[in-house]
Symmetry: C2
Subunit: 223 residues, 2 copies
Amino acid sequence: MNSVAASEPVARRRQARSEATRTALLDAALHEFAAHGFEGASTRSIATRAGTHQPQINYHFDSKEALWLAAVEHLFTRLDEAMQRHLPNGIDQGFGPDVTRTTFAAGVRSFVRAVAELPELNRIMVQEATIGSDRLSMIVEQHTRQRYQQLAGSWRTLRDRGEVADLDETVVYYSLIGAASLPYVNAPEARLLGLDTTTDVFVEAHADALVTLFLGPEGGSEP
Amino acid sequence: MNSVAASEPVARRRQARSEATRTALLDAALHEFAAHGFEGASTRSIATRAGTHQPQINYHFDSKEALWLAAVEHLFTRLDEAMQRHLPNGIDQGFGPDVTRTTFAAGVRSFVRAVAELPELNRIMVQEATIGSDRLSMIVEQHTRQRYQQLAGSWRTLRDRGEVADLDETVVYYSLIGAASLPYVNAPEARLLGLDTTTDVFVEAHADALVTLFLGPEGGSEP
DNA sequence: GTCTATAATTAGATAGAC
DNA sequence: GTCTATCTAATTATAGAC
């Protein structure tokens, strides 16, 4: 009689628990892949960190590789969200087609704050970008190429207007990303050197410094 | 009678061959560790790349970890040699106590050229600096701390003289290293984007760009 | 959906012939 | 010194009970 009415909450509870382990596995995977690389991270340690058992990975995802793909997808979504959140009101895109010195400066600042928040992203990027794998091709086609074209194009626009230094846009792209991410990628090394790069004070000083380096001491003011 | 006289060349030939496999193992180890990380690189693939067999690693080195240590030691020696070689005549230290805008600029240029030559170094550094391991502690105490103090100290000196922008030296340290190394660490990704960062043209444009960014458009000229 | 048990493969390291 | 053969432990993935 009430078997249908009573079974629904049970199914919903099971579904909620399933979603919870899936999310826990994703978060744990990010941490382990970032720390040890794809080959170095073991599915056992990921499952243990997620508070569950190793076969759950093959149940919720098809394979270790599928788990990696889902984790990276999740990470880039969080990057977009973080960059948007760290942009000031009134600016909705730092490196878009309507770029100005002001929006570029805001883009640099939001990018620094976002990568400081998500060190796993650049750790995984560096580990994969180091060898030519299918995983690297996937990242480039799905995520990197578009961002590269936006940032490089923005610099070219500003440079053609004479509003920034006469530097090659591909050089600027890699220099900016490298300069923005290394303090957070290498945070454990910085700790051993007596530095804490995870504080707001450091992140803001770092963001200000990159604006000064790339746009000059007048920062993001218009010419 | 001639057993002693004849056996010497044989022993010498054996010793030479032994040294050759040792060196081949070191080079192969650098490549594999840089590509896959410490855990991800297998001693079998290292031995195969070196043209020998896996047990040779435990014969010539005590363990996988000992091989890693020897490889990193070798790598920093090559970094020193490369940086010295890329300095112009008359300047024997870019970031030493006698730093000027001229020597700093020369140091930046020689550093860019050196890391372009040795992408394995920064790949291994990033992989290890990402987690707190005994290997990271060893790198920091043996190699990184001294270089950090030299570079940061040089920037502080120039800044206190008012010869460079008023930027925190720790921010400058990580920004400079990140900006200098990423195009070569991520060279496979750059290839997928249609860029070749391994050409002399790129490396020199990159070196010039970093001098412009950190020392201004007048480059390394004295104030 | 989650668990235990286990299959199949591969890892680093060692033994012993040559 | 270098090789083949092998040990032990750890890996990813699967089977099947609950």
